[in-house]
């Protein structure tokens, strides 16, 4: 795993780029990230099919102490896990939501996104977060997963903080890396 660049031009806009060489490394990065999360934190994952969003989420869940298998929430839209800390992990998937924001907003109602966001114990991971961007709190850690051109298993993860809380997360993640 290799951290190639860190920009902290404005504190709350912190960006870092991390390369992983395998699904296992993406998972491990998730575990490290999961160890840092507290209620109120939100990870917004973006990236195409097969980019590793669910793999990263599985790692995060592991880092938070989830011991069961974390399956894709594509069908159920949201999966919930009680955490040893007393917090609750919500693993949400925007894949099946409408392609337009208006449709996605209506559909987000049907699985109770509002209640999730109001839950003081909630730690939230959202896959295909771009589909729900307008509904999410501003201060979230956005992680965009891209393929590298040269090799199948390499992924480029761009972490972008959207506020002070998520900026602090990036800082802690980088401290852990060194």
């Amino acid at each position: 795993m290799e951290t190639t660049s860190v920009e902290t031009a404005r504190h709350e806009d912190a960006v870092c780029t991390i390369h992983t060489d395998s699904a296992a490394e993406t998972y491990e990065l998730g575990v490290r990230l999961g160890c840092l999360l507290h209620p109120g934190d939100m990870l917004a994952l973006q990236g195409d099919l097969g980019a590793g969003k669910t793999t990263l989420a599985q790692g995060v869940a592991r880092g938070l102490g989830v011991e069961t298998y974390v399956r894709s929430p594509t069908f159920t839209l949201v999966n919930e896990y009680d955490l040893p800390s007393g917090a609750r992990l919500f693993h949400i998937d925007g894949y099946r939501l409408g392609e337009t924001m208006a449709e996605a907003m209506l559909e987000a109602d049907t699985f109770g996104l509002d209640q999730v966001l109001d839950d003081p114990r909630a730690i939230v991971i959202i896959e295909w977060a771009e589909r729900l961007a307008d509904l999410l709190p501003t201060d979230r850690l956005e992680v965009t997963l891209d393929y590298a051109d040269h090799a199948h298993n390499v992924r480029i993860l761009t972490c972008r903080a959207r506020g002070p809380r998520s900026a602090a997360l990036i800082e802690h993640l980088l401290q852990g890396a060194t």
């Binding site: 097969g50 793999t55 298998y69 399956r71 069908f75 159920t76 449709e103 559909e107 699985f111 109770g112």
Partner: protein, 353 residues
Amino acid sequence: MRILAIETSCDETAAAVIEDGRYIRSNVVATQIELHRRFGGVFPEVASRQHVLAIYPVLEQALAEAGLNGVEGLDALAVTVGPGLAGSLLVGVNAAKGLSFASGLPLLPVNHLEGHIYSNWLDANGTETAMAGDHFPVLVLIVSGGHTELVLMTGHGRYRRLGGTLDDAAGEAFDKVARLLKLGYPGGPAVQEAALAGDPTHFTLPRPLLHNRSHRFDFSFSGLKTAALNLVRDLERQGEDVDDPALVADIAAGFQAAAVDVLVAKTAAAAQSYGAQRVCICGGVSANQALRDAAGRRFRDLGLPLHIPPLFLCTDNAAMIGAAAYYSGRQRADEIDGLALDVYANLALPESE
């Protein structure tokens, strides 16, 4: 015993009247297409709102087609309480509670996965696929867009989960590969159609966990999906036209062959390990012809009776909910306060041992 069953766990609004857990007196499924036709105009893209609009016409039609005058002649009501989308489930549960309150009929909660299992007990116009008699243990593969589970059934309503997917459900992989190959939705039928013209041996895709000893009865379809994706990217890089129908057909066929191989091999291994008397395959993906053919061959060779429901009972329907209520729910009827039912989005199959 005549049961009116209601199913609204996902995208279909369905109601059915089932007699003695086996005979289908009516079986109504409203898809979005039919709703567009019935209500005219554009329909909101909201699953639970679709259900709200469709539920009463569907219920009335189910009663009318069964030749019933309202709820007269019914002995019980049954409704899916999970797993599924909470908002969608609530529509069916609330309609069922209303009917139960007004009629005084008992209301039985049904697990959607149990419904799929009992789709194999329905008599579909005397087809030989229906389970007759009780020959337990039965090895069940539930395979759909949301689930891939291997279950040992030791009696009616008695289940032991042997394994299941560790990541994506099989149907989800079909949907996502269909999207990757630009084949449209729903992905299962689209991949099957494209694969018809393809050579399944042109591209060999991995069979995840096939020989993994610590995950003998588990599945992983996420890796297969990614392998299909990597194949497409490789071909693109080599300058191939990945929209070429012949190439798409070969990729679809290669993917389908890998998925079917793993499903059949693990089901057969589980059936043999646990001395199953019969094997059932159910759920939306059991409509896949390649799976039906491959499983048919494999279990014929093993000398094990195989049951797969006819196509109209593979996808979500309420007939299977009525069958499940009859076989596994009625024993519990006395203990259940139908008006206090809740919905459970992540409900698992109840395990008895």
